[in-house]
Symmetry: C2
Subunit: 155 residues, 2 copies
């Protein structure tokens, strides 16, 4: 991957800022935005802070977008996996992408996906992958990704 | 997930042993088996050992199956991801599953997949996922997994 291939970022609404997850986001809506994506359940402040501490390791890269009032309106994680293959390279996994429903249509999702793809490139990943439902394929294509394979799961 | 749901492991051929990846596997075929799956490229002994050291972190769990001669005939990785969702839970990602071509049909792949699903359960994962090509869906279904979603990629 070359710098030329970096994805263009759309413009964020005025006053909106992308940042890494921090402990104050516990009180400012991070879990409420995630709850619009999937089951969040009980997450204590202690466990939230443990997750914030994981951001100090190379693997975890959770970003948030905060609005003018510093409320979280978007959240997503890039998990960096070191691999033996491709010459001891890395793959980026984009996980748990959620946007506040009242903010849909303002490019926050596309902004986060492209930001994380670019971050993965700059961290040495040879590819970035994510899994999604069939109905979200078109959204991710607009972000710059291609359909690749099938996600299998065991619960 | 309950212990009752643990997947049955098939029988390994006599003398075959499942183990965690170790530095001696560099000389005993680990990279050659991976090269039957995908591009491995240049992996120095130093970088191989760095990857072995990652196995000391909770995230990386790479297993090998060695035959009677202690040659690697199978390799796979379970990457454990801590998540805020599902009550600060974990998801297991199965990655880079490769079996020596001369050993196909001896259940080594199915053994590794089921072993890693069970390991993920015992580590507290609420689900285990992997991405595969369409032609491998039936194999993973036989291992106990279900089709779930679409893998998207950016290169």
């Amino acid at each position: 991957m070359t710098k030329e291939k970096k994805l263009d970022l759309p413009t964020l609404p005025e006053g909106y800022v992308l940042s890494t997850l921090s402990s104050q986001d516990y009180d400012n809506g991070a879990l409420q935005v995630l709850a619009q994506l999937t089951t969040v359940g009980d997450v204590s402040r202690e466990n939230f802070n443990k997750f914030v501490d994981l951001q100090l390791t190379p693997e975890y890269n959770t970003i948030v977008i905060r609005n003018k009032s510093e409320i979280v309106v978007g959240i997503a994680t890039l998990l960096l996996e070191t691999k033996l293959i491709h010459g001891y390279s890395k793959v980026g996994h984009i996980e748990d992408v959620a946007v506040e429903s009242r903010e849909r249509g303002t490019n926050l999702g596309r902004y986060m996906i492209r930001y994380l793809c670019n971050l993965a490139i700059s961290c040495g990943c040879y590819k970035v992958i994510l899994d999604c439902d069939l109905e979200n394929v078109d959204f991710y294509k607009k972000c710059g990704l291609d359909e690749r394979g099938i996600e299998m799961e065991y619960r």
